[in-house]
C-alpha cells in the first residue's frame, strides 16, 4: 500500500512538473521531450489505477506517434518560437478562463459518477472486475465477438483511405532517371560506343 502511495506521488509530481516545463521551456525541442515525460508519467498513473490497456495505448499512440510527429514538426519547420512566445502573458487570462471551464466540466463528469453511481450499470456491456479479467482481455471479449464486423469495417475504411490517397496523389513522373541494375548490367559496348569513320579534312 505504501509503495503504491509513493509511486502515485512520484508519478503525479513528475507529471505536473513536466507539464509545467512543456510551456515554460525555452527550447521547443525540450518542450516536446518534457511532453513525452508527461505522457510516461500519466501512463504510470493509469497502471496504478489498473487500466493497463489505456497506459499502453498512451505510450504507443502518444509517445510513439504523436510526440514524434511534434518533434518532426518542431525540427523541420523553421519557426521562431521565442518570437511566438513574446505575448505569453497577454494570453494568460484567456488560458486561465479556458482552463477553469475544462476543470468545471471534469468536475461535472466526476460529480455525476459520484452522485449517481447506478448510471454505470446502464452500460450495454458492464465492465468485469479487474480481479477476474484484465481489461485488455475484457475489451477483446466484445471487440472480437459482437463488434468484429465493425472492427473489420473500420479496417476496410482505413484501407480505402490508403487506396484513395494513392489514387489521388501518386503520379508516375516523366523524365525521372532511375537506377535499373539489370539495364546497367545488360548494357553492351555497342549501346554506348559508336565507331565513326572520319574522312580526312571533313570532321564529323
Amino acid at each position: 500500500m505504501i509503495l503504491q502511495a509513493i509511486a502515485f506521488y512520484v508519478f503525479s509530481t513528475v507529471l505536473v512538473g513536466a507539464a509545467f516545463m512543456v510551456i515554460a521551456a525555452r527550447n521547443p525541442v525540450h518542450s516536446v521531450l518534457f511532453l513525452i515525460l508527461a505522457f510516461f508519467s500519466a501512463a504510470g498513473l493509469f497502471v496504478l489505477l489498473g487500466a493497463e490497456f489505456i497506459a499502453m495505448i498512451l505510450v504507443v499512440v502518444y509517445v510513439g506517434a504523436v510526440a514524434v510527429l511534434f518533434l518532426f514538426v518542431v525540427m523541420m519547420l523553421d519557426i521562431d518560437f521565442v518570437e511566438l512566445r513574446r505575448g505569453f502573458l497577454q494570453y494568460l487570462p484567456t488560458g486561465v478562463v479556458i482552463g477553469l471551464i475544462i476543470l468545471g466540466e471534469l468536475l461535472l463528469v466526476a460529480g455525476i459518477a459520484i452522485v449517481t453511481p447506478e448510471t454505470a450499470g446502464l452500460a450495454a456491456h458492464p465492465i468485469p472486475s479487474v480481479a477476474t479479467r484484465t481489461n485488455t482481455g475484457a475489451l477483446g471479449d466484445i471487440l472480437y465477438t459482437n463488434y468484429i464486423f465493425l472492427f473489420q469495417a473500420a479496417g476496410i475504411i482505413l484501407l480505402i483511405a490508403m487506396i484513395g490517397a494513392i489514387v489521388l496523389t501518386l503520379r508516375s513522373r516523366e523524365g525521372v532517371k532511375k537506377q535499373n541494375i539489370s539495364d546497367q548490367v545488360n548494357r553492351r559496348r555497342e549501346d554506348g560506343v559508336e565507331k565513326v569513320t572520319v574522312r580526312p579534312g571533313q570532321g564529323i
Binding site: A124, N146, F149, Q152, I157, I163, G164, V167
Partner: protein, 492 residues
C-alpha cells in the same frame, strides 16, 4: 406466410453466416486489389469484370439466405427480406455502373484498376447500410460508402472540375456526418441504447423527450444529405456535373437506394409507434423535405443546359416523390418506395447509358443541345431515350407512371391529400423539361452525329432498361406482391 426469425448474437459462427455476401465482397475486393497491384493498370478490365462477378455472386448469396428476420453481431446486423431486396438492387446498380465505366475510362485515359475496386468497397458500405440495425452499423456503413465515393468523384484528377467535385463532396459529406453523429449521440444519450430493436421499445411515440426529438432531427438531416433531399441537396448538381460520367451514373443509382432504404428502416424501425402508427414527430419533417425536393427538382431543372446537371435535379425531384411514400408510413407506403426505387434505378441507368454514348471525335459532350437530330442519326437510341424520358416524367403506361401512382396512392390512403396534390403539380412541371429533351431530339436542326456504334455493353444496358420500363405492366403484379411482402417484413 410463415416467417422464421432468430437472433445469433451470442453465437459468432451463426452471425458470420449472415454476413457471407459482405465477406465475399471484402475478401474478393482485396484479392482483386492484389491482382491489380502486381499486374498494373493493364489489368483494369480483368479487375472490373472480376468485380462484376463478385457483385453478382454476392447477389446470389443474398438470395440464397433463408427467408425471415435474423439478427447477428450483437443484434446490430439484420438480414430480412427488406435488407435482401435492397442488397440485390444495390449490387445490380453497382455492377451496371462498373460495366458502363469501362469504355469511358479508356477514352479519358484514366483507366486505373482502383476504379472498379472503389466501387466494390463502396457497395460493401451500402450493403452494411441496408442491413444496419444499430446506430453504429449505420454510421460505419455510411462512412465506408462515402469515403470510397469521395475518391471516385475526384478520380479524374487531371480535370479541375472533377477535383472540385471530390473536394466539395468530401467537405459537405464530412459536415453531414457530423450532423448525423450528433443526432446519434443525442439519441444514445437520452435512451441509453444504439440498437434499433431496443430503441423501438424505449421510445414512446407521440411523447418523445426533447432530446430524442433533437437527435431524430439531426439524424434525418444527415440521412437527407445522403439521399440529396432539399434543403440538403446543394452538393448534388456540382458533384454530378464534375464527377466522371460513370461515377455520376453510380451516384444516382446504388448509393441513393441504400441511403433511402436506410432512411426508411430508421424511421419505420425505432421511430414507429408500437401499434404501427405513424409518428407525427418525423412525419412532418419528411413531408416538408419531400415537398421542397419535389418543387426544387421540378423548377430548378428547367433552366439547365448540361444534361448531367439536369439529371441531378431530376434525381432530387425523384427523391422527393419517394419521400411521399415514406411520409405515409404504412406498409403500402414502404411498398411504393420499393417499387419506385426499382423503377428509378432502371430509368437512371438507361438514361446514363445514353449520356455515356454522347461521344464525338473530340471527346464526350454533355450539353442538351448536342442531342439535336438524334432521331435521324440514331433512331433506335432516340426511341429508347424517348421511352425513358417519358417514364421519368411519369406518362402512362410506362413504369414511371406506375411508380408515381403507387406513391401518391399511399399518400392519399394515409390522408396526406395536400402532399399528394403538390406532388402531382410538381410532376406536371417536371414533365416539361423531360419533354423538352424529346423535342430537341426529334424536332431541332440536327447537330453533328455521335460516334457510332454504341459499345456493346451500353446497348445491353439501354435495351434491358428500356424493355423493363416499356413492359413493366406485364409483370407488375408479381413485383407488387413481392414488394408488399418485403415491406411487411419491416413492420414485424
Amino acid at each position: 406466410m410463415d416467417v422464421a426469425s432468430g437472433s445469433a448474437s451470442g453465437d459468432l459462427a451463426a452471425s458470420l453466416t449472415l454476413a457471407y455476401p459482405e465477406m465475399l465482397m471484402a475478401i474478393g475486393a482485396m484479392a482483386l486489389l492484389m491482382l491489380g497491384v502486381f499486374r498494373g493498370n493493364s489489368s483494369t478490365r480483368l479487375v472490373a469484370w472480376g468485380s462484376v462477378a463478385i457483385l453478382l455472386m454476392a447477389a446470389i448469396l443474398v438470395l440464397a439466405q433463408p427467408n425471415g428476420r435474423f439478427v447477428g453481431f450483437g443484434d446490430g446486423f439484420v438480414v430480412d427480406p427488406f435488407a435482401k431486396f435492397g442488397k440485390v438492387l444495390v449490387y445490380l446498380g453497382s455492377a451496371v455502373a462498373v460495366i458502363m465505366s469501362l469504355g469511358f475510362l479508356r477514352s479519358q485515359k484514366i483507366e486505373r484498376f482502383e476504379f472498379p475496386l472503389l466501387i466494390l468497397f463502396a457497395t460493401l458500405g451500402m450493403s452494411m447500410m441496408v442491413s444496419a440495425n444499430d446506430l453504429i452499423f449505420l454510421y460505419m456503413g455510411i462512412e465506408l460508402q462515402s469515403l470510397a465515393l469521395y475518391v471516385l468523384a475526384a478520380f479524374n484528377r487531371n480535370s479541375l472540375r472533377s477535383t472540385e467535385a471530390g473536394l466539395k463532396y468530401f467537405v459537405l459529406g464530412a459536415l453531414s456526418s457530423g450532423l448525423l453523429l450528433y443526432g446519434c449521440s443525442l439519441i444514445y444519450g437520452f435512451t441509453g441504447t444504439t440498437n434499433f430493436d431496443v430503441l423501438r421499445h424505449v421510445i414512446v411515440p407521440g411523447e418523445m423527450g426533447l432530446g430524442v426529438i433533437f437527435g431524430l432531427v439531426f439524424l434525418c438531416a444527415g440521412l437527407a444529405f445522403k439521399v440529396s433531399a432539399v434543403p440538403f441537396h446543394m452538393w448534388t448538381p456540382d458533384v454530378y456535373e464534375g464527377s466522371p460520367t460513370p461515377v455520376t451514373a453510380l451516384f444516382s443509382g446504388a448509393p441513393k437506394i441504400a441511403a433511402m432504404l436506410l432512411f426508411v428502416r430508421v424511421l419505420m424501425g425505432p421511430f414507429l409507434g408500437q401499434d404501427g402508427t405513424v409518428v407525427p414527430e418525423w412525419q412532418q419533417i419528411i413531408i416538408v423535405i419531400s415537398i421542397l425536393s419535389m418543387t426544387v427538382g421540378a423548377f430548378a431543372a428547367i433552366g439547365q443546359t448540361n444534361i448531367k446537371r439536369l439529371m441531378a435535379y431530376s434525381s432530387i425531384g425523384h427523391m422527393g416523390y419517394i419521400l411521399v411514400g415514406v411520409a405515409a408510413g404504412t406498409v403500402g407506403g414502404v411498398a411504393s418506395v420499393l417499387i419506385y426505387l426499382m423503377i428509378y434505378l432502371a430509368m437512371t441507368l438507361g438514361v446514363f447509358a445514353c449520356i455515356l454514348s454522347m461521344r464525338r471525335k473530340e471527346g464526350m459532350v454533355e450539353h442538351i443541345e448536342e442531342l439535336a437530330g438524334l432521331s435521324r442519326n440514331q433512331p433506335l437510341m432516340a426511341m429508347a431515350l424517348l421511352v425513358l424520358l417519358f417514364s421519368l416524367a411519369g406518362m402512362p403506361p410506362l413504369a414511371g407512371f406506375a411508380a408515381k401512382f403507387f406513391v401518391f396512392r399511399a399518400a392519399i390512403q394515409a390522408e396526406l391529400y395536400g402532399l399528394a396534390i403538390i406532388g402531382l403539380l410538381a410532376s406536371v412541371v417536371g414533365a416539361y423539361y423531360y419533354v423538352r429533351i424529346v423535342k430537341i431530339m426529334y424536332f431541332d436542326e440536327p447537330a453533328e452525329p455521335f460516334e457510332q456504334p454504341m459499345s456493346k455493353s451500353m446497348r445491353m444496358v439501354l435495351v434491358t432498361s428500356t424493355l423493363f420500363i416499356l413492359f413493366y405492366l406485364v409483370f407488375a403484379n408479381p413485383l407488387l406482391r413481392m414488394t408488399e411482402y418485403v415491406a411487411k417484413s419491416l413492420f414485424l
